[in-house]
Symmetry: D5
Subunit: 146 residues, 10 copies
């Protein structure tokens, strides 16, 4: 069973149960963003989390097994076309050099890890139009000299 | 004078004055991230901000003029190679579909603006290794039907 | 059911009913361009519009559900090959810098939104050959400084 | 003298005279969009227009000659990165298939010419935020059978 | 039925009838090159021509309908690999700038239309080796100033 | 001296003498298309032709030498952007498979040479708009079996 | 039946008969390299050769027909990844300019044909390790001036 | 001094001395193909060979030093455009899979080295047109299992 | 049976037997890395090794045959996206020039073979976090002059 | 001063002093591989190391300053062409999936860091041809769930 079939099955179950990612994340005791990413096939779930999710949504054992696999993370579009995702790509293009300047000024030569990493999405209500707030939190890894 | 020459001149002045982006941003009354991005040629400065920055750093009038131009935002590498910037690109690739799911669940069909947008970088101290915290804040724009 | 199957089913129904996009758009109370784009899988329909369209064309409930999903907007060809679409791409290439100059002169530093956006197509009759008139209308979004 | 040097010289003269593209277009009796495109090196000016523009801006004879050359239209980025231009590219990607459906329904099998073509940009004032209105007008060219 | 299935069906019928494109074109009253291109899915046939072709080759009504559709012209290889087609691509690369010089010298600033366009292929017998003669005939379209 | 400098020098001399490619080709006893291509650096001139051209245009000996070199034929854009050249590329994309069918039907398995090859451009006057006629003539090369 | 299915069928038959390409080539009276290339779908077989091969390997009439078709030569990877094929690509990259110098010194301005062309592979035994000897033999085609 | 400047200097000296690559190779006791490749910056010369070549052509010590450097082998065009070099690329595309079949049948699983490798070019006179004969000779390297 | 089906079958058998690559490699008398690579379709197994592996895992004869084929080594992503594999790609990008300097200083002009090559992976325990140790061992191949 | 000028200056000094990277690394108390990478502009040197290196090689203060900057790591070729570097790229392509299997079996879901990373190159003498031994040592980073 491919991860995109797993994702489709989970989304169908989620819709028929009328649950949100927020609710699913809370039910399995993890962040909604991380839970979604694992269901999309971009993170592997610990056994208990996978079982909890499959119980919640009434999914078969093979889904449960698939969710525990270490996924191969592949994306097809070097430059994404969907407007929501492209805007994130554009932010990396426009602000990449700026972030390098600012992060390395604060921390020294190194990078923000994308592995020892978490991310949250919040809704900030605003009379001029609500705002999306994305918070990324990654361990700073200094370059090693040897 | 090209924007990359402007950037080099500003960085040289910043180093000879021993100032950080944090201090420069505070001095001109703007966020350090936005200030850096304007100096990198990725945002245009209002006249007073540009003047304030040039006074602070002792820069010529042509730098001041250049900082007020509406920049053409160009990046050469569709896939960035510098490890710090690549990790951000990787986050878009790995979590792009997840963010689409989560944002559209919270807000409906639409996107997070990269124009009506701000970003901060903070250092979170941690005994296991300090962490980089990036917060993005963009207006939600719903798709218009007509 | 994939959006390209949805699109094929709608086009087949449209042809068997002998309806034009103009007539379908009018019947569901939306612009023909927007209606077509939603049927092509590039915009999501509000529930009533989807129901109205499915009644008009005699389509099943699963088409109605699919039309309401928030679509992932993907196109395969970075440079389109179909001559009608390529000419639009060519206009962006030839006149992109010009539009940047003219729009930013009129509005200041910012962009025309492709989300808060509408578009119409008209036929202008002309003895030397009829002309296609495309009108795009997008909200101006000024860059935010912070 | 390369066309990008010509463009820079014209923009410098335009700024020192304090003229807008709107005013320059009106002064030489052409549309502001077309006038800008010719100054950007994407259209050739008739002799009188070039002379009129060079008189207005106080430019040398070699600029006048360069403006009359038939330009080779080249753009570097298959997918543009500047946000203003990218949004136009995105519109082609998202709505290309839709425009093909709608135009060919109205006109038959053929294309909108990008050569026998004109374009205007207007500002539509709106209390919720001004709007950019771009109107494209191109001759319909039916495919020839032989 | 996809256009590549239509093309395969036509070629199979053509082979079983022992007809050449020359004979088919003559029978339906059109040029062999154009007739072939329509069967390959790159041009749409008027109703009578499609019926005439289907009668000649004994093909079903769905082929007849498919031949009348306005095709979406797509090719996969930006640089073609088949040696016969590559040589044509090479001619565009080697002689493109030359053709621009020569055509614009004869006609002024503009292009040769690929829509109001026809093409013939002839065999020129020659004792040193027969020669392929391709004649392209396209309307000159002058750039419009506005 | 690079071939693009050679080309610029020749074009400047051609303009100051007020000669067309037609006249230059006739004066040196070669086709205008071939003569232009050699001046653009895409063919090597025999010694007498180069001398004749340099006498006609009053060019130095180093131009004469450069014209006799065997050129390395390089083009930068896999997909050309200039509209005149793109239309030729589009013809290869749209009609490539058709030409393969028609040529191989007439000649057997093989290709049209782009080396043992000539090309002419003519103007066909037409009240509905003049037409460009391009004639390509290349030796048929059958595939060798061994 | 696609050419890759034809190739698989031939290879399966070859293996079950225990024959080498060397033996098959000899049996049908052609070079092993050419015979292999025709079975891989990169050359068309004359009728007698195809029949002889199908008799030898016990293959059906539809294989025999398919082998006689004029193939469309397509390869997917602009830069091949298989190490054996990549080394050949590397040789073209490293020695391409050298071969141009040496061939054009010996023959004048022109190319080696890849159509009127043959190739052999031999094994040269050597105590330090056997060596692969590839011999290419192509007609020299001088550029034509006209 | 870059290798392309070294190559230009050597070619200028070669031309002023009226020597061929054949003669230069013979004079320095190496193959003409290898000698040319070293002068093009694609192989490093042993000290004595470089000195011998510089004496023969009257070149400075810095050329002699540059010829002994271990070159970084870079080519710009993943798919070459010059027709002579493209034909070699085409041969790799058309016959790559064939060569893999034939070489691995004769030698087992492995590759032909492009490092422990030599190549010769010969002219084969032929009344129907002379032929280019390229002979490649590379050590077979079997894959190692461990 | 394609190699990716072979790989899936082997992985399923490996999981149902509860064996690691380490144990499988030891059981068939080969390195775990090499054994894995052969199961992934990137190396061919000698007959005895393939039989031993199929006995161990209870696999059919067709798997055994497939494992002995000489594989065509193909990878789809010129730049890999999976974070584990990308880090290796990044190391080649960041340290490629460095390795060229250091290897050629130690060995002279030449390369490290990727064919006469082996690789091991070890776990180095470390209280600050375990470390991955990859050791590559490839024959040095000096460039041949001829 | 660009990093490639810094690198050239260092290499020139290194050659005139007759020092190897081995000797330079030992003199400054760092690994030869890391020292080389810092001189190539791919790592930043601590102040003392940079001073020690500049003293050793007799280099100016601006070189010393440049070596301490945090470099932007850029490489031009997504697929490298130099044979030594390509072989490393090929190893990533051929063995990437294998390394993912083997590393994740030993360590769980995660990656080998390319930042907290070191690398050594050794020469293994061997009568059949010396061997290059590259050892990579990177911290294992487990994916974080949150």
């Amino acid at each position: 069973m491919s991860m995109s079939e797993v994702a489709k099955t989970i989304i169908a179950a989620k819709e028929s149960k009328g649950l949100s990612w927020e609710e699913i994340g809370n039910a399995v005791g993890m962040s909604p963003v991380w839970t979604t990413s694992a269901c999309m096939g971009m993170n592997s779930m610990p056994k208990e989390t996978a079982e909890s999710l499959c119980n919640l949504l009434g999914l078969d054992a093979d889904i449960c097994t698939a969710l525990q696999k270490y996924p191969t993370k592949v994306w097809d579009q070097a430059v994404p076309t969907d407007p929501l995702v492209y805007r994130l790509y554009e932010i990396v293009g426009v602000y990449g050099e700026t972030l390098k300047e600012v992060i390395q000024e604060k921390f020294g030569d190194g990078i923000m890890s994308a592995i020892d990493f978490s991310m949250e999405v919040e809704k900030e209500e605003n009379p001029k139009g609500d705002r999306v707030v994305i918070t990324m939190n990654g361990k700073f890894l200094p370059y090693k000299a040897w």
